[in-house]
């Protein structure tokens, strides 16, 4: 047998692996391992999120952040109102409307959430 012939015969013989009688059971055991890993990962992420949330919330409460945020919010609301009035005097209806400056904050908040969603989607696509 020539060398090339032996090489071809070997490749052919290696490719002809007999189908195992327990092929289905083997596939199921792999899938069980995958499922276990997946479940463990979800529990781990959930637990990490919970711990992080609890720590974050306790830090927020302990640092008296809400009263500080209120003060910053009222200051920035004044700046925002004057800014909006200077840029677009005709937008007074928005600020002086029934919802007032809260509507502006709400829109800004929704815009941030929308941007977050877009960013998440982009990261998923990448």
């Amino acid at each position: 047998m020539a060398e090339m012939e032996v090489e071809r015969a070997l490749e052919r013989l290696f490719a002809q692996a007999p189908e195992s009688s327990d092929a289905g059971a083997f596939a199921e055991s792999v899938q069980r391992r995958l499922d276990r890993g997946w479940a463990a990962r979800r529990v781990l992420i959930g637990a990490a999120g919970l711990v992080g949330g609890v720590i974050g919330a306790s830090q927020l409460i302990m640092s008296n952040l809400f009263s500080r945020a209120e003060a910053v919010s009222s200051d920035s609301a004044r700046v925002l109102t004057s800014g909006v009035r200077q840029i677009a005097p005709q937008a007074d209806w928005l600020i002086d409307g029934p919802a007032g400056i809260e509507a502006v904050w709400l829109v800004a908040g929704l815009a941030v959430v929308a941007m977050g969603l877009v960013l998440t989607r982009i990261i998923e696509e990448i």
């Binding site: 047998m1 060398e3 032996v6 090489e7 015969a9 070997l10 490749e11 013989l13 290696f14 490719a15 692996a17 007999p18 189908e19 195992s20 092929a23 289905g24 083997f26 596939a27 199921e28 055991s29 792999v30 899938q31 391992r33 995958l34 499922d35 890993g37 997946w38």
Partner: protein
Amino acid sequence: MSRAERHRLSSLHDVELASLAAAGDRQAFGELVRRHGSAVRALLRRMGVDASEADDLAQDAFISAFESVAEFRGEGTFGGWVKKIAARARIRRVQRNKQLRSRLETPDLTETPPPQDPGRRMDLDEALKGLAESERLCVSLCYGAGLSHAEAAEALNLPLGTVKSHVKRGLDKLRARLGSEGDATEERRGNG
């Protein structure tokens, strides 16, 4: 999994199943394991791994394959890709055993085993058992897992020349064995 879902998955091509698996579909990956599990386990056994360890290694290889299935672009076959992962996993495992390196580097000068009973059919598994461990590993890596000589040398952390000579000696022994079996088959055909 419902019968309809299983039927749907079984009708898909490996590349389609791999892209579903890359999106997190574990059922699709299960179908790939069903298709290629036997071949991967057979390769490991041909590399000289015993049956239970071969199953264990093959499972690890498929788990690694699932974790990096997004890297499979369908350039080669899915089975070939997983075989390479499994073969490399086998090498990593045996390399933990320090003695292996010295065994692989030392040329094995054992005589070619006598040909089998000519009445038996050409059997790769039996023929491989006649090779030294280093030859069997190198031949299996190059012809079973589809690694080039250079890739096998890199995976085994051996000089390229050493791998080439193991493959050459292994091929010579296999040629003698498979050739004699082939001749015996031809002879039987002629007599029949």
